[in-house]
Symmetry: D2
Subunit: 455 residues, 4 copies
Amino acid sequence: VTGPGRDGLFAALFDRGAVGTGDEAWLQAMLDTEAALARALERAGLAAEGSGARVTSVASVSFFSNESLSGLAAATGNPVPALVRLLTGLVPEAAEAVHRGATSQDIIDTAAMLIAARVIDAVLADLAVAADHAAAMAELHAGTVMAGRTLLQQAVPVTFGLVAAGWLTSIGEARAGLRAIRSRRLAVQFGGAAGTLAALGEAGPTVAALLADELGLTVPVLPWHTDRLRIIELAAALAGTCAVLGKIARDVTLLTQTEVAEVSEDLADGERGGSSAMPHKQNPVASVVMLGCAKRAPGLLATLAATAEQEHQRAAGAWHAEWETLSDLLRLTGSTAAWATDLLSGLHIHPTKMRANLEATHGLPLAENVARLLIPALGRLPAQALITHASKRAIANDISLKDAILTHPPTAAKLAAAKVSPAQLESALDPHSYLGATAEFIHRALTAHAERETR
Amino acid sequence: VTGPGRDGLFAALFDRGAVGTGDEAWLQAMLDTEAALARALERAGLAAEGSGARVTSVASVSFFSNESLSGLAAATGNPVPALVRLLTGLVPEAAEAVHRGATSQDIIDTAAMLIAARVIDAVLADLAVAADHAAAMAELHAGTVMAGRTLLQQAVPVTFGLVAAGWLTSIGEARAGLRAIRSRRLAVQFGGAAGTLAALGEAGPTVAALLADELGLTVPVLPWHTDRLRIIELAAALAGTCAVLGKIARDVTLLTQTEVAEVSEDLADGERGGSSAMPHKQNPVASVVMLGCAKRAPGLLATLAATAEQEHQRAAGAWHAEWETLSDLLRLTGSTAAWATDLLSGLHIHPTKMRANLEATHGLPLAENVARLLIPALGRLPAQALITHASKRAIANDISLKDAILTHPPTAAKLAAAKVSPAQLESALDPHSYLGATAEFIHRALTAHAERETR
Amino acid sequence: VTGPGRDGLFAALFDRGAVGTGDEAWLQAMLDTEAALARALERAGLAAEGSGARVTSVASVSFFSNESLSGLAAATGNPVPALVRLLTGLVPEAAEAVHRGATSQDIIDTAAMLIAARVIDAVLADLAVAADHAAAMAELHAGTVMAGRTLLQQAVPVTFGLVAAGWLTSIGEARAGLRAIRSRRLAVQFGGAAGTLAALGEAGPTVAALLADELGLTVPVLPWHTDRLRIIELAAALAGTCAVLGKIARDVTLLTQTEVAEVSEDLADGERGGSSAMPHKQNPVASVVMLGCAKRAPGLLATLAATAEQEHQRAAGAWHAEWETLSDLLRLTGSTAAWATDLLSGLHIHPTKMRANLEATHGLPLAENVARLLIPALGRLPAQALITHASKRAIANDISLKDAILTHPPTAAKLAAAKVSPAQLESALDPHSYLGATAEFIHRALTAHAERETR
Amino acid sequence: VTGPGRDGLFAALFDRGAVGTGDEAWLQAMLDTEAALARALERAGLAAEGSGARVTSVASVSFFSNESLSGLAAATGNPVPALVRLLTGLVPEAAEAVHRGATSQDIIDTAAMLIAARVIDAVLADLAVAADHAAAMAELHAGTVMAGRTLLQQAVPVTFGLVAAGWLTSIGEARAGLRAIRSRRLAVQFGGAAGTLAALGEAGPTVAALLADELGLTVPVLPWHTDRLRIIELAAALAGTCAVLGKIARDVTLLTQTEVAEVSEDLADGERGGSSAMPHKQNPVASVVMLGCAKRAPGLLATLAATAEQEHQRAAGAWHAEWETLSDLLRLTGSTAAWATDLLSGLHIHPTKMRANLEATHGLPLAENVARLLIPALGRLPAQALITHASKRAIANDISLKDAILTHPPTAAKLAAAKVSPAQLESALDPHSYLGATAEFIHRALTAHAERETR
């Protein structure tokens, strides 16, 4: 058995997470579930002593092949009946401990939860690294001024530290969401043919609890065969993680634009970022591929939300549509997170260019601050209108905002009447004078990060 | 101002929740935010005494018209600048308390959180009623046997109480998700032009906290202008609620099929369920319209997950795409929940038909139970194979499973060899003998429901 | 190189089409494109004689490995630069004919079009078979009455032939859509670094046309590197095909329900349809798996529509998100179509059960027809109201509609006053008397099918 | 009746198309359908002379109110039964011509087709204007050089005319798609209760054809009540149009960035583009709102693809989910197209800034062209490698590519050995020397546009 994807043509791009989600991962997780069930049955006194260990000893992908399972899967609509037959054949002496009380959905759903747990653990590890890098940048660049940009236009000054603090905060929220799912919503599925565990008589709930214990999953109130809310919640936490990382990647692609050039990816001394056509290209590979992964999450999430409409005690198709979809979403989240650690660990910051871009428009990003000087005398809307006109003159004549104010007699007169001195105007045009709560916000983000780490 | 949708052509179907999400709701929520900001500024000592009350006194939709706001919105890409101008004009004496420190996004995002809070409260109230009805049915019909169905085929017996317990459990999970969002993730958005609150100098965070206090929203670590994870989480909780209710509606539409007829909707003495063409029709209107609402949630959720990729400090379009999308998702969730209380409060259960359908296949749903009798003697897979063949004979010859076993000498011989008596066989064919953990599961669901209520 | 998916765990379910879409298919299609480019360059006089054949001779997956390509892909964000290096290394004497004038996107996009062409051809072949089976059923069962069902309730009579004619018509429409895409929209992509083909000087358009000729693709007006409308159109034709087949599968799952049992899948003498738990199960595997495939199409389509927003001359991420998504959609369409031929070739029809289900409600599906008798005398709405009341009495008292009319003196009196005889009533209650245009519609569907075949 | 949306809070942004899609549009289209049916029945000899005109005379929204219809809709799950009752009440003398032979779905689906036809006509008119503006820019700026950009990095030179030609071509493709749907796929839906038209006896198909004729819609092979492929195809054409326009808007938002500033929107002398906080802001409102509309299309398209899985002869919910979803998609497409004419009619182009941006990197975008000079002597990959190293030196030392080549003895020596003169190098560094097929491509796009117009 080899896992499709892990060595595939696009695997280094889209399957970069530490944990696989392909055929090998699925098959092993299904075998882990069957083995844990055998051990649970033994612990419940429903299987002979040693049968749990016996089944466990052969529950490895190395004893099985996809080909044989897949061919048989076509006959039943899923690979479990074939797996049970092969597994039983390997341990005839422990046959009664194999799959007892279970139905195919129990095995597939529980296996999906195991894979999810493994991927989430790997993603959380990557996000912890990414968050630490973001935190370090937030601290180091707390005072590195740059243009804040709204609707892709320069707005007012911010600092790169605040940008990094924003990334840090969103990564922290994504981690919290994943942790909540990991600890509370990854539950064993064990209900038997139709959710009554009838084949185990009275012992069903006991075996279910032991199975959950064996696998490190939680025990649900009821078997959840056609209550797929936890799948939606899991998918939403994954898609949310992709979205948070996609926003970071989007910022990086914009900040690395040739004309902006405020940050750049680490291209490993030119080993990375080349083109098949253009010799000069230094493409931001990590952020581009992160976007290539993250942009696929919403469609996959929609599928998993739509397929939650499942009939009676087992869905005709909606359940089957979940398997590969959830795998893909787990894989892409893992890959995005792995790329994110790569991106953030090596991001180069260019404060000089940040300052130069901010100053290229000669004071316009401080227009709001200048208007503030006039509000006490003129009122807010009139003060804004006055500076709006000055800004338009500055743009039209390609002069500085300061000159557009001071060399325009009516405006200069209003400034004087409002008792705003040229020195006050000058000061208002200094980006450092107009950062508001930037420092406090960075502090809050770092504190929240530190608290999250020590929890 | 009249709210589109609330009196619209399809409003009784798709806008049935207690709380509106249309223009009127949006405009009032934006005004509520501006008024709360004025009060917060006053409390922070940044606006004259009484200015908060003054602004609040005119912050009502009755003073504004959509038409004027909408026309002006085209010039700025959102209705807030026009709203600020009109509002300021109504309270010239308190002009300095209007919109101070804020940007358009602060008002629109915070208004969205207010609408979300109001809708969620209404949905939670409806879900509480729906859950109580489900709980009552779970208790009353704990022993009402019916066919469990997998892949739309009869599987093994369950009880209708267990079905209702499943509905109850999923509604409970949806409520937990909504409550978590309501209490932890509906945060005020207040960051000013680019998230630094620079226009308020040092006072920004204080005003933000007071604003949150005024509105009953939480204070985020940072302004979340381009960190949209909470929008995704909110959307996922809403879509999850739709999914849970959609599954119930799907079950009801299937159980009300003419040929199944195990439940029926309350049609208010024929006031409901008619057709424009067919005199005899008694359509299950509530469950059908629930599906009509719920099926739209996944696409809306996908949009909100995709639009979370927002540039820099304010997105160029991705933000704008959220407004109506979130409104629609809130509206449809509210409508689905309202229909759900309607559906579950009046659902008619037909135990006789349930029993008849279960017995129509002459014992087949008990085939697994019969096979269990033979496992000690034959082993699991051979026992299953024997009964599989008997089942096929029963179907082919249209005889009962019992007859297919007892009148087939080789099978009857194996039964005898395994020391399974005809009485044991008879007993295994009684649905009540094969309900496994049904009673315990119902008990667990009811207990979880009771605990949720007393929390 | 082995293609992930083709021998995978779930491949027999979700990768059942005749043509692969995995790594092997991608790699071969990229090599086919590079080889065709070498031949085109030679034909244009831009490469030495024989170099096209030389490159073609090594352009086979057997000379390459995914692993080496994937590892290098991580450095450039796509596997083409590595492929070009390896390919060039294999034919040093024809190096100048390799990749000349092209950029990575040219190779990947053109390869995607080749894969699409190959999959569509296979799907069209499967749909032709499926359509023939549907046509045969439409003809054979043109007069086999069954209940038409609206909102899952029995409505008025139809025939199974009409149902099959509906399936046939929609398959025909899907084929027309695929053929239009296949012949008109699968275009070569060849634009060089930024869509100007500058590296080929004046010769660019000539080489592009020769490349299209070599590959059997069309020549676009312009290189379409960031005009992705044809991707959306292709995806929509695929998703539309899935939708059409999904509707058929949904009908089959409903008609095979234990309680309905009007059709059944061919289960190959019990080789198919079994369960891991229940000996009696005969699951409709083909229709269930078809739904499992088809339900994933809308989310994939949404991704491909969203990623069409591509920046400037090559997108940063949106393009990358297309590759696997389009592959999956092609694969799932291929698989759904393959399952559809399987399903329709062996579908068992049960006319007796159809008739029995229709008659089980004792005339109600003919209520509209009975009302028609009274319209001349009473008017449409009053006639409907009268029969609505009779229908309710029939349901409430479990009597036939006929008795509910004739044994209710006021209704019987109205009938008499309208000069409707009991014989006329009896006749109106015969399903065959109320099939309207059924025969003509079936004829139209068969005619359209025959015309499609001879075109 | 007032149409929600048309005068709503966000209407000027998201409901800007010439044709409404709200309640008023729906109600009028339903009335148009009922009136056309009355006329068709009269033409078929099934209704008294004059009854068509009589029904038509009252089939106006001014005679009806949403409120009454909506309230009644809750009882039947759609507003048609109530509409039929009210309409019949207005024309008692022509009662027999009202709704005869029809079912609710016939009226709603046909009304949806009418609305679609009206919106598409308006969109086509807007796109014709937008295309003309793009064509004018393509022609005027055919030689205006600017940087082509891939992955948001400067790549090789293009011209703005080529960019505009790309926009033109994609608009042309979107128009072709919409026209094909408009003329071939907008079909009348008329099937009666379950698609047999049984209530009209033999006359059904004749009435259907007359109805189509009255409404200017096509006649389908069969009633398409649960064959929703045409809805998917319509939705895909709309979403494709949004995608094409969204790509243009994305380009404009990027080109208007403060640091790029190569184009700017027409802000109507400052009447447009302002901010509620920042006096200097000149936001690109049209392109931002276009993105705000276009980004919602994929989710709506996914819903309409998913809801195509419709049961039997009328879907339980999937059909209902289409109504508002299709309305929204039509509305947003109309709005995007209206904004597009606005955007393209007033777009300001800044050739000087384009040239300055291209030259800011001192020759790097011509690196590929320089490498071409060396290919004959060195071979393609070695030539590329040499210039890659020179490009890295240029970036690292902030010198021009020319200097990085000529002042680096080993590189200069290779140049000399290859007999590339400094004058040839100089010439290769001129953007105009490396435009390849740009002029021809622009010509092709303009020709295709001209042909489209004269067709």
